[in-house]
């Protein structure tokens, strides 16, 4: 019965491990759509809007959400493949970009693996060289880089004697994805962003790659950001999960809290849209109707309100903030007026309101 949370936080070792490896603050990325005679901006896709989250060292943060909700854009902005319109990215305590650490340094620490295992590899380069290439570009001698590539190939379960000299088109999808993972590991990153990294794989191969990711994480002390539209896979692999809807974070929290006690109406609908695996107990009603609305001109206020059963006037007026309410786990937060006692939503419980 010694440590309260306050005591623990004053222990320097714990403060160290609690510092997030990555934090993203108020990130915004809008894409102008140009058209017309003079290429003027006609509309704006609000792909990522005021997104904030943290990833702690050694944890896996999952991101789920439907197509177009801004998952990939978030990852790409972190990697600086797109420039953010606003917000900042802090890596291991240091701001990236202006006045902070350089993007080049971030790239040594953060790597990304994409869904499309085919296009990520150079078709005219043997895969051993593909893996070594990044290190060579950072000044590692060719021989050393190739030797290291061979070690990485065996780490991802491919015999270097058989595979190092093959070309990507000679590999299966699962093998290519292993090569992509080996390539991401070559620069000894601390954080890997996996964007639908297993989505194109068959189930039996997906299970192998998930096993591999789990092994590598323990062995190399990695931290993962795991993006997927497969809710089952995210539940299995993640410690915490972030739910996105039309460019906004609607809910975030420890995976078991969110899956077993989802708060946001969208998260609830999403989870109960998953097919039942039991033919004797089938889904009888679709939780949502229609498709997600267009991220061009998203609805005012809460972006989910056009599909939400609980929407009221307040939902169209103001955008609900992502908040941990007092009846929730402190690390579980939701952006919904129905859960905010002061919002004026008729279903919001008034009990915890200050007055």
């Amino acid at each position: 019965m010694t440590g309260t949370n306050a005591n623990m936080a004053s222990d320097p070792a714990i403060v160290e491990t609690q510092r997030p490896l990555l934090s993203v603050e108020n990130l915004r990325k809008h894409f102008p759509i140009k058209g017309g005679l003079f290429g003027r901006t006609q509309a704006v896709v609000q792909a990522v809007d005021d997104v904030s989250f943290e990833i702690r060292k050694g944890e896996t943060l999952g991101i789920v959400g439907e197509s177009g909700s801004g998952k990939s854009t978030t990852a790409r902005v972190i990697m600086h493949l797109f420039e953010a319109d606003a917000g900042k990215v802090v890596f291991d305590g240091e701001t990236v970009g202006r006045g902070g650490i350089a993007y080049r340094e971030l790239c040594l620490n953060v790597q990304m693996v994409f869904q499309d295992s085919y296009s990520a590899l150079n078709p005219r380069m043997p895969i051993g060289l593909s893996i070594a290439f990044g290190s060579m570009a950072h000044g590692v001698p060719r021989k050393e880089a190739l030797d290291k590539a061979a070690i990485l190939l065996s780490k991802v379960g491919l015999d270097p004697a058989t595979f190092a000299n093959r070309y990507s088109h000679e590999l299966s999808g699962g093998q290519r994805q292993r090569v992509n993972i080996a390539r991401a590991l070559a620069l000894k990153p601390r954080l890997i962003l996996l964007d639908e990294a297993v989505s194109a794989l068959d189930k039996s191969i997906e299970a192998q790659v998930l096993d591999l990711l789990l092994d590598l994480k323990g062995e190399l002390d990695l931290t993962y950001l795991f993006i997927s539209h497969d809710l089952n896979v995210v539940r299995y692999i993640s410690d915490r999960v972030l739910v996105m809807y039309l460019g906004k974070v609607v809910e975030v929290g420890p995976v078991e809290d969110v899956y077993e006690n989802p708060r946001h109406p969208y998260t609830r609908a999403l989870l109960s849209s998953m097919p039942s695996m039991d033919p004797r107990n089938r889904t009888m009603e679709a939780p949502l109707s229609g498709d997600p609305p267009n991220p061009i001109n998203p609805p005012s206020g809460c972006r989910f309100r056009t599909r939400c059963r609980f929407a009221e006037t307040v939902c169209g007026k103001s955008s609900p903030a992502l908040t941990a309410h007092s009846d929730m786990n402190a690390r579980h937060a939701v952006a919904c007026h129905m859960h905010d006692p002061g919002s004026g939503h008729s279903l919001a419980s008034q009990t915890e309101a200050p007055e």
Binding site: E66, S67, S172, G173, G174, Q175, D202, K203, S204, I205, A207, Q208, L210, D211, L214, D215, H229, L231, N232, V233, R235, Y236, I237, V255, A269, L270, S273, M274, P275, S276, M277, D278, P279, R280, R282, T283, M284, E285, A286, P287, L288, S289, G290, D291, P292
Partner: protein, 335 residues
């Protein structure tokens, strides 16, 4: 009264000549489908699911393709029909929906025009009747503001709406058999479940028989009465959906179901099936799952196992299970 099956497929084999050699896409596939029944064909990429469907509806290119076996639809031998006879059946009595609705529609005509055109072509109805039917169909597949949507072009519709329109197109001539090839794979989960429920409802209301092809056990479980699992071009197990998912009787199905992430312990590795499916150009003369099977024994390598009955209404292509040497323990962890 009508005891005859709507469809029976007997010893179907499909081989393609390619530059690398002969691709054994489908081998010795046999199954039957009752009137009003929904069969799910489950299998990984390249296992022969789409080729099986395309053979039934006569959509395979005839050159460089060698098709053996018999497909009997509503009392007629499909393989013996002329092109004209097949064209009359396709679309009208057997219809197909695909993963990508864009392939079913021509981008330069409205959705309403295309549905009406199909009705006029097959039924010889008047355009006025066909237009009325097109509207009924869009309402049947629950497209909001159906009347306005008749005049939409395919690119003006969202993914879910286009998928509904393709189903309307497929239903336009009242087919007895609907073939659905991964109809929900490209959709988000919240839209996928809507399409699943729609297909289930239509099947029941219209009394249609359905074959659904998917690689997703959950999707198959929501729709199918019976399941057939394909591996490397062969059916390795069939049975009722409920029984199979509860207790599979082939090591491949068992491996797939017991390595799913559902209910797997967090942080613990999945019990993944090692290796990859065999090369269809060089299929071994043994159980094609043998190289990946954790129960393999010498006898499994002595020849290709046959699909043998296993209890009531079930069958397995595993020698050891058929002979009672192997009891698969792992029930589906998801239940």
């Amino acid at each position: 009264m009508n005891r005859e099956k709507i469809l029976s497929v007997e010893d179907l084999s499909v081989r393609f000549k390619s530059d690398e050699g002969i691709v054994n896409a489908v081998s010795d596939v046999s199954f039957e489908l009752a009137h009003g029944e929904a069969l799910g064909i489950l299998g990984e990429s390249g296992s022969g699911k789409s080729v099986t469907l395309r053979t039934i509806i006569g959509l395979l290119p005839r050159n460089r393709t060698d098709i053996r076996g018999r497909v009997r639809f509503d009392g007629r031998e499909i393989q013996d029909l002329s092109n004209d006879e097949m064209n009359a059946i396709r679309g009208a009595r057997i219809a197909m929906v695909f993963q990508e609705p864009m392939v079913a529609f021509d981008p330069v005509f409205t959705v309403g025009e295309q549905i009406a055109e199909t009705i006029v072509r097959h039924d010889g109805s008047s355009w006025a009747d066909a237009n009325r039917r097109a509207l009924d169909l869009l309402e049947l597949v629950q497209i909001p503001s159906a009347k306005r949507r008749l005049a939409s072009y395919p690119h003006e519709m969202s993914g879910g709406m286009l998928q509904r329109s393709m189903i309307a197109l497929a239903l336009s001539c009242g087919p007895q058999l609907l073939l659905a090839d991964e109809p929900t794979t490209a959709l988000d989960v919240s839209v996928q479940i809507q399409i699943i429920l729609l297909l289930r409802e239509l099947q029941r209301e219209l009394g249609m028989s359905v074959i659904l092809v998917t690689h997703d056990v959950g999707v198959a479980a929501e729709i199918s009465d019976r399941l057939a699992v394909m591996y490397a071009g062969r059916i390795v197990e069939t049975g009722t959906a409920a029984e199979m998912i509860e207790a599979p009787c082939h090591p491949y199905t068992d491996g797939l179901l017991s390595s799913t992430v559902l209910n797997a312990t967090k942080g613990k590795k999945l019990n993944a099936i090692p290796g990859a499916p065999p090369d269809l150009i060089a299929l071994p003369r043994e159980c094609s799952f043998a190289p990946r099977c954790r129960h393999v024994q010498q006898q499994c390598l002595s020849g290709i196992p046959r699909l043998e009955p296993f209890g009531k209404g079930r069958a397995t292509r595993c020698l050891r299970v058929s002979e009672g040497q192997l009891e698969l323990q792992s029930a589906n962890p998801a239940l």
